[in-house]
């Protein structure tokens, strides 16, 4: 109760003060989702982007401003950044701006919050709406004062007449009145030189509540009459449910078992009873299971193809048929590993459904749930509440569906909390990929003449897309899995280096060995590992400095060269041929590695220098320091940006050194933090950052870019230290020690 009422106070209570945003919701039949298929990265909006100010923001009676932003807060500080943008564009104090929690009833459909696009693209219509709102206030003020708008000045939530003492607040002029005014394409947004709040390291609005324990996480939503649900998954994976022995629950009061096809769950009056029932219930499964895998790379390449496509095909790579340097890189399945397992709360009664979820796409989850529940879209409301950190398509949508099915079955609100083993076992995984590289140098032996990449990847999106068959619960109900658009495997498959003869071929796989979807960086993580490691292999072949080698292939990109100059200075790079063995003792080898990317070929520029120490005996790799140079155009909030860069760097260090999902024919076996370790405080590298601010360049996303350069930089540093080239992640002590032994032999 207390939590729910505070939700109301924060959003609904304010909404009453002004007219409800006007959003035309598409009506649809119970089985068909509304609107066209929406791509993975749908940066600005969903099917339709509303074009009047009142859909995006309201000036309340008190003069505060409520923003309805279609991208959700995933723990990145996006709400703070959006409030900064609105404060500047509307000329109101930062503290007066609140970004409302997303809700299918009040929020514009801006598709998924994904692809680092919330600021670069998602913020564009909000900024335009704020600029238009300021013009609306000016028009009201002109009428109020009886002067032309050219004599009016806006600042700090007030309009004053230039050269006079007359002034009026936004509250007086426009408070509580819906601004139903079309956002004109011609309306100009401010010149970056006029920004007062954008560019400042404003403290995040959400952090105090998180630090004092009062934050309204999804996990804290409590609905009156709410019961506690748990799900029981098939063992082995893909098995059919044969029977359930409810007498095995003897002694547990008030427990109800819900079974439909292979979907099985229990509902109990309290959480501990639900957990005990989940553990006690005797269930018989049959069939299912995975094919045995002994060689991950072979298993990935053996998956049937959807198609093969060239991402780039320039010149001729025929020269690679002889004397080419060739290498194959392998990336394992990885899990999102949010500290809080997925959760969902649903109230499905009387032909209506209200669902609370930490989904990345409230609208496409809504239509998927409508289909799952057999309800029309407009009978389903999805309310976003922030969950534990989100780094891609985790179990949030699936947990919402679990809660919805259980609530529908028992006719009461149900909260489903996945257990740790369920999160590790059943979240859609970051895909395993295999990349084969082949290249030759030209006659000078200093430039790449021809390069061929072959990339084996499944699609990096299995998101709901408005289809029940994309939800885990839907699959368990035998609803066919629809064909999603194929995305993400080719992210950063192509390098930005100048290569005269270049071919990248995508071998697009039907699915994976394990069910997989979007995880931070999508294929950019795997492809950049392969590309930037291979650049170092080529620099070694050229017996040249890896930084100079990269520069020579980026001569046409001044911004990239600026960034390389910045990282050279920050990291105190000393030119070396690779495998120099910078320093170290008999036992400990020290090395430095470099890597660079222009993310997605058109987004942020990032370069990193990694300093590592390799224990030759144990194979332990310690990353001591990561120096990072970062250029993402205009910086909205430098502190928030640094936080994102640090987070990417540390999480990617973890993925590089430690992380691989283990599985057998029954399913995933790395089901806790011992079997799937992530970096701990004692292992975290120091991170130093130089930000290149370009106030007159467009904002580029920073949520993922740094992630993709970390693995190759660490791999290159290990090579620099030991001469060992590692081509498969993670660089665990066992793997490194074994490789060092075979290098010696």
């Amino acid at each position: 109760m207390p939590v729910r009422s505070s939700f109301l106070a924060r959003s609904g209570g304010i909404v009453i003060a002004f007219s409800m945003p006007r959003i035309a919701f598409a009506q649809s039949s119970p089985t068909k989702p509304a609107g066209p298929s929406v791509p993975e990265t749908n940066p600005v909006g969903g099917a339709t982007v509303p074009d009047t100010v009142d859909n995006w923001l309201a000036i309340n009676r008190s003069g505060t401003v409520t923003v309805h932003f279609g991208k959700v807060e995933l723990g990145t500080g996006i709400q703070t950044a959006i409030a900064q943008i609105v404060a500047d564009e509307l000329d109101v104090p930062f503290a007066s701006v609140t970004v409302a929690a997303a809700d299918t009833s009040t929020t514009p459909d801006q598709g998924y919050t994904a692809g680092s696009a919330s600021l670069s693209a998602g913020a564009i219509p909000v900024r335009q709406a704020a600029a238009e709102a300021r013009l609306a206030v000016l028009d009201l003020a002109a009428a109020h004062f009886g002067v032309g708008t050219d004599r009016l000045v806006t600042a700090g939530g007030e309009v004053r007449v230039a050269g006079e003492t007359r002034r009026a607040s936004y509250a007086e002029l426009a408070g509580g009145r819906a601004i139903h005014r079309t956002i004109a394409k011609a309306t100009k947004v401010k010149d970056p030189d006029a920004y007062r709040v954008v560019g400042k390291p404003i403290a995040r609005v959400d952090l105090p509540a998180k630090v004092f324990g009062s934050f309204d996480y999804l996990q804290n939503v409590r609905v009156p009459g709410m019961l506690h649900g748990r799900v029981i998954r098939p063992v082995p994976i893909g098995a059919k449910l044969v029977s359930v022995d409810e007498s095995s629950l003897g002694g547990l009061n008030g427990v109800r078992v819900v079974k439909r096809d292979a979907f099985l769950g229990i509902v109990a009056p309290d959480e501990w009873t639900a957990i005990r029932a989940m553990r006690k219930l005797k269930v018989t499964w049959s069939g299912g299971g995975l094919a045995p895998v002994t060689d991950l790379a072979a298993a990935v390449r053996a998956v049937p193809l959807v198609n093969e496509k060239a991402v780039v095909d320039t010149g001729s790579v025929a020269a690679l048929d002889s004397n080419a340097l060739t290498a194959t890189y392998v990336w394992p399945y990885q899990t999102h590993g949010s500290i809080g397992p997925s959760c969902g709360i649903a109230d499905v009664r009387d032909g209506k459904a209200t669902v609370w979820s930490s989904t990345q796409g409230i609208f496409l989850l809504r239509s998927a749930l409508a289909m799952l529940l057999g309800l029309p879209n407009n009978a389903v409301e999805v309310k976003y509440a922030e969950g534990s950190g989100c780094y891609g398509h985790n179990g949030s949508d699936d947990a919402a569906a679990d809660a919805a099915l259980l609530s529908q079955a028992v006719g009461s609100p149900v909260r489903v909390q996945w257990m740790r083993d369920q999160e590790h076992g059943w979240d859609p995984k970051g895909p395993a990929m295999v990349i084969t590289q082949s290249a030759v140098l030209d006659a000078t032996q200093q430039r790449i003449s021809a390069w061929r990449s072959d990339v084996w990847s499944p699609s990096h999106s299995a998101r709901p897309q408005g289809e029940a068959g994309n939800l885990l619960a839907g699959k368990l109900l035998n609803i066919p899995t629809p064909k999603n658009a194929f995305v993400g495997g080719d992210r950063d498959a192509k390098v930005n280096y100048q290569i005269p003869n270049y071919r990248v071929t995508m071998h697009n796989l039907l699915d994976g060995v394990l069910h997989s979807s979007a995880m931070r960086g999508l294929g950019g993580t795997q492809n950049t590992f392969a590309n930037e490691s291979f650049m170092d292999e080529l620099a070694t072949a050229a017996k040249t400095d890896p930084l100079a080698f990269r520069r020579a292939h980026l001569a046409n990109d001044a911004r990239a060269l600026d960034l390389l100059a910045a990282i050279e200075k920050l990291g105190s790079w000393q030119a070396r041929p690779s495998a120099a063995g910078v320093s170290g003792s008999e036992c400990l080898a020290r090395g430095r590695g470099l890597s660079f990317v222009r993310y997605e070929n058109t987004e942020a520029y990032v370069a990193v220098i990694a300093d590592v120490v390799v224990d030759r005996t144990t194979g332990n790799v310690r990353v001591e320091r990561l120096a990072i140079a970062h250029d993402c155009g205009l910086i909205v909030n430098p502190n928030g940006l640094r936080n994102q860069i640090e987070g990417n760097a540390i999480q990617a260090t973890s993925r590089t050194l430690k992380e691989a999902v283990a599985f057998n024919t029954s399913g995933v076996t790395s089901l806790d933090w011992h079997s799937y370790p992530i970096v701990r405080f004692s292992e975290v590298p120091d991170v130093t950052i130089v930000l290149v601010n370009r106030p007159h360049e467009p904002v580029l996303g920073a949520g993922e870019a740094t992630t993709v350069v970390i693995a190759p930089a660490i791999g290159n540093a290990i090579h620099d230290a030991t001469g060992l080239r590692l081509r498969e992640v993670p660089f665990t002590p066992d793997r490194v020690a074994a490789a060092l032994r075979s290098l010696k032999a």
């Binding site: 500290i339 950190g389 405080f681």
Partner: protein, 152 residues
């Protein structure tokens, strides 16, 4: 059955079976939001509370075994009267998603209660069992150091 526990200075008679982990009593019976469910295995620290000045994993401790007052992050301080660690976490912007934060704050407060001026290595050691997935570690270490400096 009814079990009496004292949490954040207040006594409560809660309805729970004796084997119920303390975490579910705090969250579901007392409606506290600070301690989080992370693993239920004592492996991640999201559920950390303080008992007798020490950090305790509330997800693996049966409520009947709790024989001393419990302090959660809510009991450490308030926005008006923050614990030095809480003030420092905000000042250093030492979180991203914040799901691990309450456990980090409590574990850090327990560390400072025992070692008022810890070294970097001591901080890292003390927090090694608290997992953060967003990568806020460096800010958290800075925050704890800064809180230590602030204590008299």
């Amino acid at each position: 059955m009814s079990i009496r526990i004292t949490v954040n200075g207040r006594a409560h008679d809660v309805r729970a079976t004796p084997d119920t982990p303390l975490l579910y009593v705090l969250r579901d019976e007392l409606e506290l939001n600070g301690p989080k469910f992370g693993c239920g295995l004592g492996q991640c620290g999201a559920c950390t509370v303080m008992v007798k000045g020490r950090a305790l994993r509330s997800c693996v401790v049966p409520v009947a075994a709790v024989d001393a007052p419990v302090t959660t992050v809510e009991g450490l301080g308030t926005p008006a009267h923050p614990h030095p660690v809480q003030r420092a976490f905000v000042a250093e912007q030492a979180a991203q998603c914040g799901y691990c934060t309450a456990g980090m704050v409590v574990a850090s407060a327990a560390l400072l209660a025992e070692h008022p001026h810890p070294s970097d290595a001591q901080i890292r050691q003390a927090l090694d069992g608290n997992l953060c997935r967003c990568g806020s570690h460096l800010r958290i270490v800075r925050a704890v150091k800064s809180a230590a400096g602030e204590r008299v």
